[in-house]
Amino acid sequence: MNDQVAIFAKDLVKRFKTRSGAVDAVNGVTLQVRRGETYGLIGPDGAGKTTTTRVILGLLKRTAGKSSILGYDSMHDTYEIRERVGYIAQQFALPGDLTVMENMRFFADVQGVSRDEQRRRIPELLDFAGLSDFTNRLGSQLSGGMKKKLALACSLVHEPQVVLLDEPTLGVDPVSRREFWNLLGNLRAEKGLTIFVCTPYMDEAERCNWVGLMYQGKLVAHDSPETVKKMVPGRLLEFTPSNFVPAWRLIPGLDGVLEVQTYGAMLHVFVDDPDGRRNEIEHALAAQGITCEGMREIEPRMEEAFISLIERQSGRQMEETRDAV
């Protein structure tokens, strides 16, 4: 095993038995996270992100394939993994009847951190998380964002080399989300920590070195954010048609149109040649009495890339039912 690899999975499968048969929550996932890297496992609810994380951690038994952290096998070397890895479970709740300081001590004790070490590390971590002024506040009295930061500080108390964070920013507002990601960035820059994070937020992918896009148990992409964004077909035109549904029906049949996505009152049209095709689209719509407002070329974001990848690989098509409203 290469020393540079912190997290490794090959052809990983996790099958759950159900009443009507079996479902592969993780269906042949192969991924690799290098040391010091921030890896984002991105995907909607139910894509299999949590199951993948729990199998890699050894909390769930894998059905097939291989998985390891720092070269330690997920299923056989659980003690070694626990010593070296931090984890925040999804919707993890800290004991609300303990203060911030008591929470830190509790997690330190559980991880077997000596009292001397605790005296050094805990103030450092609380300072890093911006919680130094709240050491006596009860967990239940903290804001959502502060709870998340405390959970992160607790997961780092045994100085792990790798942390796995399962939707650590779920339900917190954009300000707290930004603060949390700034902390992760600082950990990456200052400590070289390897960070594996699951998130339903596409924009958080931009803050990772590497992202895996997961959908229905499979990785539909696994690359740098820049490369994933380039996986969309062609270039992207955005505009608002005066009559939405007829435009949405007409455009996919035009020459050079590779894909169409809806965005509120706007259409996102992927074309082979934006300069040439924009006039053709305008003319084709004008022939039907439809005008286009604000036509311009835009840079695809992670979300456009993700939608495009899902539609191409799973056959899941965007439904258009707005006529029924």
Binding site: P174, S176, A189, E190, E206, A265, R301, I307
Partner: protein
Amino acid sequence: MSEYTIEVHDLTKRFGDFTAVDRINFSVRRGEIYGWLGPNGAGKTTTIRMLLGLLKITEGSAQVLGYDPTTQAKTLHARVGYMSQLFTLYNDLTAYENIRFYGQAYGLSRSELARRQAEIIEMAGLQGRENELTANLSGGWKQRLALGCAIVHRPQVVFLDEPTAGVDPISRREFWGLIYAMAKKGVTVMVTTHYMDEAELCQRVGFISRGKLVALDTPGRLKQTQMRGHVLEIGCDDSEAAMRILLAAKEAGALPLDEVALYGAQIHAVVPDAELFKQPVWDFLVGEGIRVNDVVWIAPTLEDVFISAVTA
């Protein structure tokens, strides 16, 4: 009737000593999609609950469709819809039964209910699944069914409180298609969300912070007027090392950096003026032994603007 379907004057809500909503003023036009954004605990839901007549107004006034929510709540409820992030559907009822339950609660006639059932099933894309238990539907279907139930009585104003939490990107896009279709028919939509790409889809956006309205405009104009400083995107060979250097420079006051953050392989730094500080930032990094590839002044995202406005 007035051009405005929601009008709020000096709206205030106090819980004991705590002012949750503090003298807020805004108006929403008929058929407008109005985004109501703020950090958790800023007063978003409290505002909506006052507009629905579910919470008593402490001071100031509000009118929805010309009705006073405090004294005319019942009349109002027949004309407004409300969907909360919890998708208040009955999981042990089928899709059909949920629509019927809400339709009956709103006192729809038998023939009107039959018509609405068909329309909502089509809108939610649930043809063929009418008799499936709601518990077995995926997030996107549940979400559209919940919207259908919230508008079963054809309300003129709809309040959506984080309606898209936890559904996949395709379903969120489909949902926003429905929001636009409602607005086009003249329904006023007031919506809260934590997704900034959805805020971009609102015609106007109000930012609320600690109970106060701190900014209100179109997303485009907010980006021009509300951002303190400019965002520089820095590309260099060793972004972790560059980040350490910039954090230290910020701490020591060597560079006027408002925020420094890693974005994948790039660094975003907020400076007072991009033209003025682009070169000094570049030179500083080079002086510390970093190979800089480029420093670009980039447009702020609505999230940058939001954070700037609510942390002022």
